[in-house]
Symmetry: C2
Subunit: 393 residues, 2 copies
Amino acid sequence: MFDFSYYTPTKVVFGKGTESKTAELIKEFGGTKILIHYGGGSVVRSGLLRRVTDSLDNAGISYVTLGGAVPNPHLSLVYEGIELCKKENVDFLLAVGGGSAIDSAKAIGYGVANEGDVWDFYDYKRKATGCLPLGVILTIAATGSEMSDSSVITKEEGLVKRGYSSDFGRPKFAIMNPELTMTLPDYQTACGCTDIMMHTMERYFTNGGNMEITDSIAEGLLRTVMKNAVILRDDPKDYDARAEIMWAGSLSHNGLTGCGNNGGDWMTHKIEHELGGLFDVAHGAGLAAVWGSWARYVYKDCLPRFKRFALNVMGMGDVGSDEEIALKGIEALEDFFRSIKMPTNLRELGVDATDDDLILMAKKCADGLPNGEFGSAKVLNEQAILEIFKASV
Amino acid sequence: MFDFSYYTPTKVVFGKGTESKTAELIKEFGGTKILIHYGGGSVVRSGLLRRVTDSLDNAGISYVTLGGAVPNPHLSLVYEGIELCKKENVDFLLAVGGGSAIDSAKAIGYGVANEGDVWDFYDYKRKATGCLPLGVILTIAATGSEMSDSSVITKEEGLVKRGYSSDFGRPKFAIMNPELTMTLPDYQTACGCTDIMMHTMERYFTNGGNMEITDSIAEGLLRTVMKNAVILRDDPKDYDARAEIMWAGSLSHNGLTGCGNNGGDWMTHKIEHELGGLFDVAHGAGLAAVWGSWARYVYKDCLPRFKRFALNVMGMGDVGSDEEIALKGIEALEDFFRSIKMPTNLRELGVDATDDDLILMAKKCADGLPNGEFGSAKVLNEQAILEIFKASV
């Protein structure tokens, strides 16, 4: 068991109609001039944005808006947001949307609160010393960014996708109304469920230290997500299933499922980030497409965890050698992915990558790792990453 | 499933030697003049208090100290602490100890930050509008007060024990070094494990709404505590078991195991509070002594939860009627209590209560309930409480 810190100051307000509390929460956390940041037109078309601006109008809170956050959110929009905040003296950010809007808002917050180029933080050059306070109205359950310390931004030049994590970036509040996620396309719902599972699995597949209570929470969370992902595949309007997935998304990435382990593996995420950077695929689908290849490459070096996963999460019987049980668990998760129409390789993902593409992605991935290697289940370098990409074609 | 709020802003620093970070954390949260509040002599004898004051001296942080917090902490000491804080211009409280020191410090914090008599908050007369910021160095895993919004204080006059909950009372940070709990007497360790379980069980036994992911966390937590309580019975120095119990204690009462249910039952706690007020018994032991009688009185009105508890927590087989399975689960938990030397009735608790005592406690308990009744598994009034007391003799 490893020492750990746990810090999740985000105030969660969860349930039907909770977006009506936006103005009240902004006031509670001291916001007076707001940048409302959102993504595509769905928050406009659904009337959500209008409801939010109406409530701010009624409360006498002034605001400016900035739409346009896209999946794998772009650095150029972040720069635009920073300029807008400075010009308008914004003192509080409100992200309305999913991980793209939230991550983009976090980056804007870092850019306003710190001198110099905000990309420095994502390029591992220096650390932020603050962030503009941020609130969230969540409309997609997936990235967990509504409670997490992380954000991921893509620099268009060179298509470089990088993450930055800091407690300053944890939102002050998160409004979570499961009803707001009901109109998501099925594919996006399934991508979200995959991303949620992966946030906990990245923490779960480690060598060198785990905590029993953390394991029990992680395993319960994974079982809950799988069960409710299937419910939503068949009935996207099931409120309780939406709520289970939404709350699982926050718990999966706020740190809870990593307490006492050694920080987690995270290589599936890092490998997928290259896919997302080069091919602009949906993050969750990208994770599903490479996970099996990663798992088969590393499982012998992390056998006790893969066996435990097979038994306690995938419900395999304790029959056969540890390696056989572990492999059955990997296959069972791939079967689950297929059952919710997630890809299990690049072809199914719709990515037709050339050998040169794979080599480029492996190189960029390794370039982004400290000393060119990373991982806890197994430490991977450029060559290992390339092998995993090749196996995932 | 019910709507919920979840707010746990406490920064947890968990692991060996983490008390060395006290001064750094106090500075991070803006403390400049500290009241160090502790209980009995053990934090003095162990050298912990000296290590803490040395670290504050080295960091140039000034402080005053106030010891003497006792189990079921007294209102008179709270008044003394309030006066001391006002006289010394204290702006930050540091509780070193278990639930008694923390709860007493919270009450002091309310008293300093609000005009008028602090007992008003515990007597349901009005609500606090703030609390002096508070940090914790935890030495007993039990009450979960290090992350919770609650505190319980006993007014000596009339031996009235009452709780008050408010987000203002949530500690800014909690330093948790499992090694600090290793010298606890076995009885106190077992009492702590019981209290931890009960904080989750009070939330678990509800009617009218539960959340699957919350249930899975609650059940995993309860199994973890039972397993590690037995390990500590046999080897009190087992670090990993101490750590599992310590973290379970925080998660059990910070709100996590109640998300999506309807607030919980809490009648076992309220019944025990009367025992604690009149006979000054250890809180955990008091809970164990009355739980079985409570459970047998209410289980038919909350049968699905009692059945689920028997199957998923106590590992009973799914054989027999629901009522039979539920009763087996209740018996199995009483067997567990006995296995860690916890009482399962008042006699084993060492309380020789007269009929008049029982009548008095039932009356005081009902007097402290809104409209004289409370509970979710089953709503209990004065007569029902008396029946439970009588069955627990």
